[in-house]
């Protein structure tokens, strides 16, 4: 276990290093921020002074070195727009995005698994066909358009649900959460559902194909030959095997869910990281972009680690050293 952890840590550091280089190169390539930040009528001397203040007069690799050294200290610099620590601003927005993404994941799993299992167990029934048809629709329709339509129907026409913001929040350990108040929950429903929609379809398809594959296996025939009750066969023998790919795929996809929150947050004016990053890209606010990317990578590494452990717990064929026997 310790060996596994240290290997994972080394791997993660390597990934962070590569990612930081990529991020730096990508961000470096995004235009000259001075053009945006400074009054267009500024003199050359003023521009030079501004560039010096931001460290932009240094050669490329020197900038990377400074960047890396600061990164290790957890400092990606101050936002050029807000003039505050970029990482701090990001971390303030993180809980809102996490709340949204986790809610979406929970919805996807709670809705997707039973529907997918049903479609897999009874593939020829009309309702199974309907589930599969809807699943195609759910992950092919663009999320932002679904969000817009939900706003029009539930917000503008029916006035059932609020369409913007987080609503009332309650702080737990200093972190504000929406889902703990009725008002916050009502604000959460539409964006969380919008974000989860494509994932519901994905879970349905994964579970269904898993169930169908497992059902054809000899060990299911053997379980039937043992005279087990059908409910036990489905619960213990079928689902346990069929859910393994769901965990891996959904885990690997969590980073995708986080980034996709960009769209949902824009539509529903949800005050998370995504809304901030879009504004920052428009303003070419480099430290903010870097902060966003590094936070995302960190979460990604963390989630993958959790998935690996979960995977090893569920599938005995996988040992934590990563070898498949």
């Amino acid at each position: 276990m310790i060996g596994f952890l240290s290997k994972r840590l080394a791997q993660s550091l390597l990934v962070m290093l590569i990612m930081s280089a990529l991020v730096f190169v990508a961000v470096f390539a995004i235009g000259n921020p001075v053009d945006v930040l400074i009054d267009p009528r500024a003199t050359q001397a003023e521009i030079n002074a501004a560039m010096k203040a931001l460290g932009l007069d240094q050669p490329f690799w020197m900038q990377y070195k400074t960047f890396l050294a600061n990164l290790v200290k957890g400092d990606v610099g101050n936002s050029w727009v807000y003039n505050e620590s970029a990482l701090k601003i990001m971390m303030q927005r993180l809980p809102a995005t996490l709340e949204l993404a986790i809610s979406a994941l929970v919805i996807a799993i709670v809705v997707g698994i039973p529907l997918g299992a049903y479609a897999g167990l009874k593939p020829d029934t009309p309702s199974a066909r309907f589930i599969m048809g809807s699943s195609i629709l759910s992950f092919s329709v663009p999320a932002f358009w679904v969000g817009l339509m939900l706003i029009v129907i539930f917000g503008v026409k029916l006035h059932w649900l609020p369409i913007a913001g987080r609503g009332e929040t309650i702080s737990v350990f200093g972190i504000p959460f929406s889902f703990l108040t009725l008002d916050g929950l009502s604000h959460l429903i539409l964006p969380a559902f919008t974000l989860s929609l494509s994932r519901i379809g994905m879970v349905i398809r994964l579970v269904r194909s898993g169930v169908r594959e497992v059902l054809g296996q000899d060990y299911i025939k053997f379980a039937r030959a043992k005279g087990l009750k059908e409910s036990r066969i489905v619960r213990v023998h079928v689902l346990k095997n069929a859910l393994i790919p769901v965990i891996t795929v959904m885990g690997a996809d969590f980073a995708g869910l986080l980034t996709f929150a960009v769209v949902t947050e824009t539509v529903f004016a949800w005050p998370g990281m995504g809304k901030l990053i879009i504004d920052s890209i428009a303003m070419l606010d480099r430290p903010m972009i870097v902060a966003y990317l590094m936070v995302t990578v960190l979460i990604f590494i963390l989630v993958n680690f959790i998935v690996d452990v979960l995977y090893a717990v569920i599938d005995p064929r996988i040992s934590l050293t990563g070898a498949k026997s």
């Binding site: 060990y219 053997f222 030959a225 043992k226 213990v236 393994i244």
Partner: protein, 551 residues
């Protein structure tokens, strides 16, 4: 004695959208208490579906259309699903072919065994556990307590099949249906399991239906034999009657196509004299899989960019001379390295150490002179007719690509050339434009042979080339190979796990175990007087028709 199981006029069909296959078409037979009945037939004879119908595990699109199944006073056809479920496990159990697949990979052995008891009886956990331990011990599993805590992947194939058998016997059912339970296992393991099952059935008075394609296995174990063909029973009788005095022509042909070392099977083994020139020579050949990593590779492993390769010795210090015109057999169980040796002998693999020579030159090394000629001179026919033909190529291209690429034939003459190859292996020349999926296993194997012969080889390596075929087809392919050998003066390297066939056709034989050649010599000598202990067990464990040793 009244019958335990009575099957009357059973019809089970596979109902597809555009056609109905009458897989089981009016089958009637009975099994007495404690009796071991063998159901034999080739693939597609309906033997497996008969078993599945009896235990009531048929699923769409397979439907039992009509018939009566009586088991120990219960009518299985009219029973409710819940009654049937209760009967399964308690009165009737089943063991399947592939032990790798019958146990759920994510559940421990104890869970999979104890759930069987819990599904039918109310017993305490500790009592259930004790019963599992006893059951495992009975089927010859050492340290049963420890095994219970393990997962299926931690056990060998033979062990897993024993666990499956122990599970089936947990509630002392009256009848066990075993569908090819030893086919996926090596002969030595098969022999042990055969003995164990026979003893257990006699001890508990359990009746057994043993479904198999292998009549020789039934000679070891069955009291009575039922022969199936095309969904019908063609002959029933005691094992002795069926095996020694078969009445039906189909049974006779099945038995005839089983290779036996009969004295009249002499087919000119004397052609090869010691003075014949050596064609292929392997000297101290060594083959390891999993490359030793270089410095860069080790660094990458440290960083976990790549995983450290597992190093296994597939072939250890092999020395073989193959003389022009002989049939040289390589035998051994799975994993013995015989296939690897075959691939080394035709240049598909490069040896890690030692020399592989063709005609006295090490011509399989890449970039040596005449490498192409040597390669073409030694051709191979593979085991699996499904995967050995490119599914996206027409027969014409499959056979014609290499001759065309090497200038053995011009594009203008290609059609004629391929036709000639097809005629030689007994195929119709009109199939040139068809794709592999349109052919049966036997036909595909003929196409494979035609492809190999199209580049005018001197040596043909037959890597389990008939193993996946039904026995009657096997016999035909063997005849074809004998004919071709005479016509084209070919040399064969015959790789097989099937000692019966090897004894029947080969001149000399090398026995392999765990990568080593343990014994080499003229076939007749080795079979009559094996010197190495491994060869002795191997020969002893091969099921034989002429044995009938349990009667």
């Amino acid at each position: 004695m009244s019958a335990l199981l009575r099957v009357e006029n059973l019809h089970t069909h596979v109902v597809l959208k555009d056609q109905t296959i009458k897989a089981v078409n009016g089958v009637s037979f009975s099994v007495a208490p404690g009796e071991i009945v063998g159901v034999a037939g080739e693939s597609g004879s309906g033997k497996t579906l008969t078993g599945m119908s009896i235990i009531g595990l048929t699923q769409s699109p397979i439907k039992i259309i009509s018939g009566n199944i009586q088991l120990d006073g219960d009518d299985l056809r009219s029973a409710s699903p819940e009654t049937l479920r209760k009967l399964r496990g308690q009165k009737i159990a089943m063991v399947f072919q592939d032990p790798m697949m019958t146990l759920n990979p994510v559940l421990r052995i104890d869970v999979q065994m104890m759930e069987m008891i819990n599904a039918h009886e109310k017993v305490s956990k500790s009592e259930a556990r004790t019963r599992c331990v006893t059951a495992l011990a009975k089927v010859g599993i050492p340290e049963p307590e420890r095994r219970l805590h393990q997962y299926p992947h931690e056990l060998s194939g033979g062990m897993r099949q024993r666990v499956a058998i122990a599970t089936a016997m947990l509630l002392s059912p009256k009848l066990i249906i075993a569908d090819e339970p030893t086919t996926a296992l090596d002969v030595t393991v098969q022999a042990q399991i055969l003995k164990e099952m026979q003893a257990l059935c006699k001890e508990n008075g359990t009746a057994l239906i043993w479904i198999t394609h292998d009549l020789a296995v039934l000679a070891q174990i069955a009291d009575r034999i039922v022969i199936m063909y095309d969904g019908k029973i063609v002959e029933t009788g005691t094992a002795k009657q069926i095996l020694l005095k078969p009445k039906h022509t189909y049974t006779q042909s099945l038995l005839a196509s089983l290779p036996k070392a009969a004295p009249d099977a002499d087919k000119g083994k004397h052609i090869v004299t010691d003075s014949a020139p050596t064609l292929i020579k392997l000297t101290n050949v060594h083959k390891t899989f999993g490359k030793q990593s270089g410095l860069l590779g080790k660094f990458a492993q440290r960083l976990r960019l790549t995983t450290a390769p597992l190093i296994t010795d597939a072939v250890i210090d092999a020395n073989i001379d193959i003389k022009r015109g002989e049939i040289f057999a390589l035998v051994g169980e799975s994993g013995s390295g015989k296939s690897t040796l075959g691939r080394l002998a035709c240049g598909l693999l490069q040896p890690t150490g030692g020399r592989v020579e063709y005609n006295g030159v090490e011509s399989f090394r890449p970039k040596t002179q005449n490498a192409k000629q040597a390669r073409l001179a030694v051709q191979m026919v593979f085991q699996d007719p499904q995967s050995s033909l490119n599914p996206r190529m027409r027969v014409l291209d499959i056979i014609g690509q290499a001759p065309l690429a090497h200038g053995l034939v011009s594009r203008a003459n290609l059609e004629d050339y391929v036709s000639k190859q097809l005629e030689r292996v007994g195929l119709d020349i009109s199939i040139k434009d068809r794709f592999p999926h349109e052919f049966s296993g036997g036909q595909r194997q003929r196409i494979s042979i035609a492809r190999a012969l199209a580049v005018n080889p001197k040596v043909l390596i037959l890597d389990e080339a008939i193993a996946s075929l039904d026995v009657s087809i096997q016999a035909k392919i063997l005849n074809l190979l004998a004919k071709l050998r005479n016509e084209l003066e070919l040399t064969y390297i015959f790789i097989s796990h099937d000692l019966g066939v090897v004894e029947h056709i080969s001149d000399r034989v090398a026995v392999m175990q765990k990568g080593r050649i343990v014994e080499t010599g003229p076939t007749r000598e080795i079979f009559a007087n094996p010197k190495h202990i491994y060869t002795q067990t191997l020969l002893n464990d091969v099921p034989r028709i002429d044995a009938l040793n349990h009667i």
